[in-house]
């Protein structure tokens, strides 16, 4: 097992909950699992911890085998040294904070338990709360106790199941920052489940996109978000401007691939993975759509210009979200402009506007049947 394979997970089953995920993880890596509700993120986490039985499962960590269906090995949860933070914390309500953390250290003597509890509570900024009960703590403090308890057993792996979903936005931001700090002091892999893309982007060393129990794509967060492998992943990461087109030709000199989209020809960055004549899906992120300003035309307007009628124009504070119906093309494109730009250009619903789709922002993907 190499350093990058400190943890190896392979989970395969069809029913009752479909799972198809195989990955390795290095010792200090933080993997974020992203997917919609019911996509199997929590089941995957629970399977690693031994809380959910998977028919074909292999989990190996640090030269220990926690389960391997081929050898009928399946350690119970108690023997898998995992720290698990549950979505709603699952603190023991009849125990104080110190007891909640200390109960995970049953193999130690009383004096060292007390010392360790103090050390871990100071790590999560909870000094002075030892004698409080969970019901006397705020959501953020309860979350810290849950994290402290998960770390108390000196785990080989930390599993966090949407740990920040039950707290308010301000606390959530604070807890994220704290987690980033705490992980610098840990020498174990962390698997973090969320459906919040911003959270995923901020925390992930590697991002995994999961849907219907299937690991669809993994990679660096910015890579996955900017270059999804297919339209399904693109939709899961909240990309809206997804269309189908045919590859027309590659222009090596200009470093461009030309697409035939409806009646329009589009230029995009050269992508030789696809051959001329092949049908592809393509997307342009919101930031790749540039509004043509009536008062100040620019050279960039020659780049993939398209016309449309404003369908929706919703001000969201600093930015205004605009959706346009494309003229002559069945489809809609959404993008955001600063609200002051929307006001200056007098953008209102049913107004005709022109936008450019930046060639370098257009990303081509292998076409899939399910749209």
């Amino acid at each position: 097992m190499t350093a990058s394979e400190y943890l190896y997970v392979n989970l395969q089953q069809q029913a009752p909950i479909p799972l198809a995920a195989e990955f390795t993880c290095s010792k200090n890596e933080l993997i974020v699992l992203v997917g919609p509700s019911g996509s199997g993120k929590t089941t995957l986490l629970r399977s690693i911890a031994g809380l959910h039985h998977v028919k074909e499962a292999i989990v190996k960590i640090d030269n220990e085998t926690w389960c391997d269906h081929s050898t009928n090995c399946n350690l119970p949860t108690q023997q898998r040294r995992t720290g698990f933070v549950f979505q709603h914390y699952a603190l023991f309500p009849h125990f104080t904070v110190a007891e909640n953390v200390g109960i995970a250290m049953q193999d130690k003597n009383k004096a060292s338990i007390s010392h360790e509890v103090s050390r871990i509570l100071s790590l999560v900024n909870l000094e002075g709360f030892e004698q409080r009960y969970p019901a006397q703590l705020s959501g953020g403090q309860q979350q810290r106790v849950a994290l402290a308890r998960a770390l108390a057993r000196n785990p080989k792996l930390l599993l966090l199941d949407e740990p920040f979903s039950a707290v308010d936005l301000v606390t959530r931001r604070k807890l994220r920052r704290e987690l980033v700090k705490i992980r610098q002091q840990l020498d174990i892999p962390i698997i973090f489940v969320t459906h919040d893309l911003d959270e995923a982007y901020m925390l992930a060393d590697r991002l995994f996109i999961i849907h219907e129990g299937q690991l669809l794509q993994s990679g660096q967060a910015d890579e996955v978000i900017s270059r999804p492998v297919n339209a399904k992943v693109a939709r899961l990461i909240d990309q809206n401007n997804i269309f189908s087109a045919k590859v027309k030709t590659h222009n090596m000199d200009k470093g461009l691939t030309l697409l035939h989209w409806k009646e329009t020809e589009l230029e995009c960055a050269l992508d030789e993975r696809f051959i001329p004549g092949e049908t592809v899906d393509w997307l342009v992120p919101s930031e790749g759509v540039i509004l043509h300003r009536v008062d100040r035309p620019s050279r960039g307007e020659r780049e993939n210009p398209v016309e449309g009628i404003i369908d929706e124009c919703i001000s969201l504070g600093e930015n205004t979200q605009i959706i346009i119906r494309l003229s002559g093309l069945a489809g809609k494109i959404s993008f955001a402009v600063p609200t002051h730009v929307a006001r200056r250009n007098n953008l209102t619903e049913e107004k005709a506007i022109r936008v450019s789709l930046l060639a370098n922002a257009i990303h081509l993907m292998k076409a899939i049947d399910s749209k």
Partner: protein, 226 residues
């Protein structure tokens, strides 16, 4: 005051409670945490004495406890005692007709513990027994205590089954409820009144205690956070 019948009633109630404590916990935990075929049938059988007329239950028990039936025969061979018209038979019957009063509140208490809490205990390294002892039992305790009080109060007041299985043998099967009926038959209102008042007081105290425990289960803060 007829202390003999009262002591007999209390002895029967306490022994029923003590026997049903482990039995109730085992059955209610199985019902709360295991999914198996026949689970609903088991639940129906446990709840049955609650809706069955006591005389019907008494009739079947009378037959089952007779020395011609395997249960009565087996018990006689094992202990040399009969089950009909004896305190042992009364205790057996009491355990059976009190089963729903023990299991229903205990089941509610165990089922009320969030699965996450038990799983969190396993993730902390606690085995099944320690999870039960350190986590489940303290959290379910108000429900268990309420069940025991209910069993105690119900045993003190049971009349029909007791009369059919135990008859009315002083010092052996003559409980307070039977004695009250007897006193009324011989127009001894004073003795019936004293025993009735005492049973009323015990029943009232039981309800107050159950109410207190139910409130503890539902609103003492720690169950709120489950």
């Amino acid at each position: 005051m007829d202390w003999q019948t009262l002591i007999l009633s209390l002895k029967l109630a306490v022994l029923t409670m003590l026997v049903l404590l482990p039995i109730g916990i085992i059955i209610s935990r199985v019902l709360a945490y295991q999914n198996f075929s026949g689970r609903n049938l088991l639940l129906i059988l446990i709840v049955l004495p609650l809706v069955l007329p006591p005389t019907v239950l008494g009739f079947y028990l009378l037959h089952a406890f007779s020395e011609q039936a395997w249960l009565g025969q087996w018990y006689h061979e094992l202990t040399g005692h009969r089950l009909i018209f004896t305190f042992d038979g009364l205790l057996f019957a009491s355990i059976l007709f009190n089963l729903p009063f023990a299991v229903i509140p205990m089941h509610r208490a165990f089922a009320g513990i969030s699965p996450d809490i038990r799983e969190a205990a396993w993730c902390c390294g606690l085995n099944g027994l320690r999870t039960f002892w350190r986590i489940e039992l303290p959290l379910a305790w108000p429900g268990i205590a309420a069940a025991l009080i209910l069993v105690f109060a119900h045993t003190l007041g049971e009349f029909g089954v007791v009369l059919m299985i135990g008859g009315n043998i002083p010092g052996e099967t003559r409980t307070a409820a039977i004695a009250i009926y007897d006193y009324l038959q011989v127009l001894n209102d004073t003795a019936a009144g004293k025993l009735s008042a005492l049973l009323l007081l015990l029943a009232f105290t039981s309800i107050v205690l159950i109410n207190f425990l139910n409130r503890r289960m539902g609103g003492n803060g720690y169950h709120d956070s489950l």
